[in-house]
């Protein structure tokens, strides 16, 4: 039997017998992402829907001064509530999202044809209230427009006179592009599952083996260290890919539970998404496997390796965080940067946008090149005399 395969097989068997590795690599790692993603998106979507469809509650102070206005509001999905004693304080303390105050002289002003004033109290730093404020403002504007048109017509004038310019907004965004933020985290969840899948083997096969003092006897066998390393990398890679595949399966299953159709969005978690995502992740998983093993080779103990690798897991969050804050336009060169390219491709795939062959080739080429470079460095470290000697 080939020595590389012997090492590979032994690492797989040994780690399949470790409950901690199984739980972390094949259960928690693959399921964490899909569960979080589905949970978060469902929450976001249902909250968005609630806001637009549900009647909003508006505390109104002085409702008795403007019965017609209040009736209009009620007809347009506003539930009138009694106002608190100190409206300003209540809004500032975030006890109320907004308060509408109608002054006592409202009726007088209205009747004499002057501009009547109502006060809308809100806190613009409270983003949660923004959509309610916007809806109430629009409803009040509509009332104002309607009353104004009626007054003009009563005087025999055309309502068009009072509005020389009308702005017609034509939003060109698609539901997919509006939910960009929603998807910025998705590639990270996939990468995370691959990282978690390989992490325990990377530590166990290098830092762990040295700590348990079994690396020195292993190196006394007539097998080149690079071949031993190859077997260990293959086992780590296999676990990482298994974790990623399970994660994609879980996304495919859980994606059905996201109520995307309610906001007219298309989410593609089907076989095509899974296949292309798996392909474009291949070089990144290989790169991660080599990096994890390289870092473990430098660590003096299992614990130390675990600390370093946990920090390494934060690195793939960078493009996700960056693209969420600064929505960059995808340039061709970005597809040649490992991590960034996976991020872009996965995001495109899930939005059912096309990924060109050239983009995919750039992603694969640069990824495998980077992985090969790190693998070469790891092989050099494996050759060092210090590696085998513990303590």
């Amino acid at each position: 039997m080939n020595a590389v395969f012997v090492v590979f097989l032994k690492e797989i068997v040994e780690n399949l017998r470790d409950r901690r590795t199984i739980v972390n690599a094949l259960i928690v790692g693959p399921l964490l992402g899909p569960l979080l993603f589905v949970g978060l998106t469902s929450l976001l979507i249902s909250r968005e829907l609630d806001r637009n469809e549900k009647p909003i509650d508006v505390p109104v102070a002085g409702a008795e001064y403007a019965p017609n206005l209040v009736a209009f509001l009620q007809q347009n999905g506003v539930r009138i509530k009694p106002a608190p004693d100190q409206p300003e304080a209540a809004v500032r303390a975030q006890e109320q999202d907004l308060v509408l105050r109608i002054p006592a002289d409202y009726g007088e002003a209205w009747k004499s044809g002057k501009t009547a004033q109502v006060e809308l109290l809100y806190d613009s730093s409270q983003r949660d209230a923004a959509s309610s404020v916007e809806r109430l403002r629009a409803t009040l504007q509509a009332y104002s427009g309607q009353a104004g048109a009626l007054r003009l017509m009563a005087r025999g004038l055309s309502p068009a006179l009072a509005s020389p310019l009308a702005v017609a907004s034509r939003d060109q965004s698609t539901p997919q592009s509006r939910s960009a933020l929603l998807f910025a985290m998705l590639p990270y969840f996939l990468i995370l599952s691959a990282f978690m899948g390989g992490m325990y083997l990377a530590i166990d096969t290098t830092a762990g083996e040295r700590e348990r003092q079994s690396l020195e006897p292993l190196f006394a066998n007539p097998v080149a260290r690079s071949r031993i390393l190859a077997g260990k990398l293959a086992a780590t890679f296999a676990f990482a890919m298994a974790s990623l595949s399970l994660s994609l399966l879980a996304f495919g299953y859980a994606g059905g539970f996201i109520p995307t159709e309610k906001i007219g969005m298309v989410l593609d978690f089907g076989p095509h998404f899974a296949a292309v995502a798996l392909l474009c992740m291949l070089p990144l998983v290989l790169l991660a496997t080599c990096l994890q093993t390289l870092i473990s080779a430098f660590a003096k103990s299992y614990r130390e390796a675990q600390t370093y690798l946990s920090l390494l897991m934060l690195v793939p969050m960078l493009p996700s965080a960056l693209l969420a804050v600064l929505p960059l336009k995808a340039q061709a060169w970005m597809f040649a940067v490992p991590l960034l390219s996976q991020h872009l491709i996965v995001t495109r795939l899930v939005r059912a946008e096309a990924v060109s062959l050239q983009q995919l080739a750039l992603c694969l080429g640069s990824g495998f090149l980077a992985a090969a470079a790190v693998a070469w460095i790891t092989a050099q470290v494996y050759k060092s005399e210090k590696l085998a000697v513990s303590g």
């Binding site: 020595a3 032994k10 079994s214 020195e216 006394a220 066998n221 097998v223």
Partner: protein, 244 residues
């Protein structure tokens, strides 16, 4: 047959080995005696090609370790100072892993494993996972996997370290049996009684150098001491780091 010529090895400014030469012959037990920190483990590590000497050469059965390390490793059975097992594998699986790495076929692997499990009296632990093994059981498993490819030359670094009296006696019997089979046995120790009781030839190392070599009688004659223990102390210059 293991021949060592003028080995040197430094770690930074520390000269761990500074000129070690000796030969360990087939059918003999050669003991490497020296106080702790004398350079025994480093010397052995260069023998089984874990480390490359700064200067000097190692030849096993006439093969130069510098030119064909894999051929040398194939001819060596090694029980290093580090003897960690894979605790999620059974004793037999631990041995089989090394057999496959040595390139043995399935049939040979099985017969060699069975033979070693019988010879080392470890049938009761063969199918058990090695997690929770006693020190003696661990050493037995480590020896079995070191000898699975039936090597002509055997290197053991402090083989009785941490063993109780019964296990130590069993180990000594086993070393004598290996000698009877005509193998070349080389082991290191800082325990004088053990070296005196077992070895055909003794190489005394202190401060990275060979300070004396020969049979027990040679060493006694050389120092003029009738007592071997006194002879060692005289050779090394102090009794620090030695155990009776």
């Amino acid at each position: 047959m293991i021949e060592v010529d003028d080995l040197h090895k430094a770690f930074g400014k520390v000269q761990a080995v500074a000129g070690v030469s000796f030969a360990a012959r087939d059918g003999e037990i050669t003991g490497l005696l020296g106080p702790n920190g004398a350079g025994k483990t480093t010397t052995l590590r260069m023998l089984y090609t874990l480390m490359t000497p700064d200067r000097g050469s190692v030849r096993v059965d006439g093969i130069d370790a510098a030119t064909d390390a894999n051929a040398v490793r194939r001819r060596l059975g090694v029980l290093p100072d580090a003897r960690g097992l894979y605790k999620r594998l059974s004793a037999r699986e631990n041995i089989e892993y090394f057999a496959r790495l040595q390139g043995l076929d399935a049939a040979t692997t099985r017969t060699r494993c069975d033979a070693l499990i019988a010879a080392l009296e470890m049938a009761d632990i063969a199918e058990r996972r090695s997690e929770g093994f006693s020190q003696g059981q661990r050493v037995k498993t480590a020896i079995a996997r070191a000898l699975v490819h039936d090597p002509r030359n055997i290197i053991l670094d402090e083989p009785t370290n941490g063993l109780d009296v019964m296990a130590t006696r069993a180990m000594r019997r086993f070393l004598l049996q290996l000698r009877e089979e005509g193998r070349c046995v080389l082991f290191s120790s800082h325990i004088m009684q053990e070296v005196a009781a077992l070895c055909d030839r003794i190489v005394v190392i202190a401060k990275g150098r060979v300070v004396a070599a020969g049979t027990a009688d040679d060493l006694r004659a050389q120092t003029g001491e009738a007592n071997l223990e006194e002879a060692f102390v005289r050779i090394i210059g102090s009794d620090e780091g030695l155990a009776a």
